[in-house]
């Protein structure tokens, strides 16, 4: 209901000041801390334009902050439960955590056939972390953002301060993870096959050494498509979901409540699915990286 009130407030009362376009832009901007390109000072960007001018030397305090908070919360919670857990009959919360662990562990032992004790923790980290980041999308769009805007206005004197709470709607966040995974793919490929083995896999597959240019044309895009598709798939799904919530909140007026529920219902399927897909693809990619085609 607060969400309804917020949106109503945004559209009805300030309708004259804030158009739908402004409302959506406000919600799609980040709380950016960076270096002002003109005077070289570090500080919070006051407008989206200012944030854009900062270029690379800027950091999205909101999405990265939430990402770290959620990741840390997940790991500390799991560690707390793991510390208290016993091998006897597990109680409620231990059962819950163990079922997540067993779910991930089963996916890893199915999908990853080589021996590497670090893939399990990697899959668990990715799955739960991404799941939590995606789940932030269910929180009504104006709750945190509205609160943060008020705090920004009355405490820090920032007008229309943006505050995004869904880290996976930030392409920096999703690509940060997928490129890290890409680095792992390269690392394990070289480690398992040797540099020569890895390069020959790129150059001499699938058509043998006389078709080397064609092989490279096929293999290199395949290789680089992995991190890009991995990161953009997650970003795209969550960004689209977020955008639709914003459209519903800004354009449907009082009818938004059932629409929110309906879309949230659909989105509840997308949230775990995308986390699962991200984890599964990581497992599959790393499994392929460990595979050596000896011939």
């Amino acid at each position: 209901m607060a969400e309804l009130a917020e949106a109503g407030h945004a559209v009805a009362e300030h309708g004259a000041e804030q158009t739908v376009q402004e409302y959506i832009q406000h919600h799609l901007s980040f709380l950016t801390y960076g270096r002002n390109p003109i005077d070289g000072h570090w500080g919070i960007a006051h407008t989206p334009e200012e944030a854009a001018e900062m270029g690379f030397w800027a950091i999205h305090v909101d999405t990265l902050g939430w990402s770290i908070v959620l990741g840390a919360a997940f790991l500390l919670f799991f560690r707390y439960i793991g510390k208290r857990a016993t091998a006897g009959t597990p109680n409620g919360i231990q059962n819950f955590v163990e079922s997540i662990f067993e779910f991930v562990e089963a996916r890893v032992s199915e999908g990853f056939v080589h021996k590497n004790p670090y893939i399990g923790p990697l899959a668990l980290t990715i799955f739960v972390w991404v799941l939590l980041m995606n789940t932030m999308d269910i929180i009504p769009v104006d709750w945190f953002t509205g609160l943060a805007t008020l705090i920004g206005e009355y405490v820090f004197g920032l007008e229309h301060m943006s505050f995004k709470i869904v880290p996976t709607t930030d392409v920096n966040i999703t690509m940060g993870m997928s490129v890290s995974i890409f680095a792992l793919i390269l690392y394990y490929s070289v480690k398992m096959k040797g540099l020569g083995g890895f390069l020959s896999e790129l150059a001499f597959h699938p058509f043998g050494k006389w078709m080397l240019p064609f092989n490279l044309i096929i293999e290199l895009p395949t290789l680089f498509a992995k991190p890009i598709s991995l990161g953009l798939r997650l970003f795209g799904n969550l960004y689209a979901g977020e955008l639709l919530f914003l459209l519903i909140a800004s354009m449907l007026g009082l009818f938004q409540l059932p629409a929110h529920f309906l879309w949230a219902g659909f989105h509840l399927l997308v949230i775990p699915l995308q986390a699962f897909v991200f984890m599964m693809l990581t497992i599959v990619y790393l499994n392929a990286a460990h595979e050596s085609h000896d011939h």
């Binding site: 999205h60 790991l75 399990g120 392409v171 920096n172 966040i173």
Partner: protein
């Protein structure tokens, strides 16, 4: 869609969380699972062992029962033998006792007869003397005839 330091920050966070998970979270649950697997295996093994023990104990008890039965049969036999022996002994004793009693009774009867004879003899001699006194009408010296009368009495 602009890349900035957030990208680097997220990558650092990613590697840090991965490391933390691999070092401080994953092994906890791995150990619990392994421990539980071990516990279940132990439990199953213990159950199998208990089953085996039960079978052994049953076999042992059957054996012991057999031995006990044989022993009991022996004891009953012995008891029966001893019983009949005691009865026999008692019979023998009773027979002897009866013989003794009969012998005692016979001796007593003999004694009684002798006494009666003695008494008769005395009375007969007194009657004879009285008769003779009556016949002779005279006084016969009692002392002079005593020997003769005693001789007579012993002959009776």
């Amino acid at each position: 869609m602009s890349f900035n330091l957030t990208f680097i920050g997220q990558s650092i966070a990613f590697f840090f969380f991965w490391w933390f998970c691999a070092k401080y979270v994953w092994p906890l649950f791995m150990n619990i699972m392994e421990e539980r697997r071990q516990k279940i295996a132990d439990g199953l093994e213990a159950a199998a062992r208990a089953q085996k023990d039960l079978e052994l104990a049953q076999a042992k008890s059957t054996d012991q029962l057999k031995v006990a039965k044989v022993e009991a049969a022996g004891i009953i036999d012995l008891a029966n033998k001893r019983g009949s022996q005691i009865v026999d002994e008692a019979k023998d004793q009773a027979k002897e006792e009866a013989k003794r009693i009969i012998a005692g009774a016979q001796a007593e009867i003999e004694q009684e007869v002798n006494r009666a004879k003695e008494a008769l003899r005395t009375q007969v001699s007194a009657i004879a003397i009285a008769g003779a006194e009556k016949i002779l009408e005279g006084s016969i010296d009692q002392a002079a005839n005593e020997d003769m009368l005693n001789k007579l009495a012993s002959e009776l």
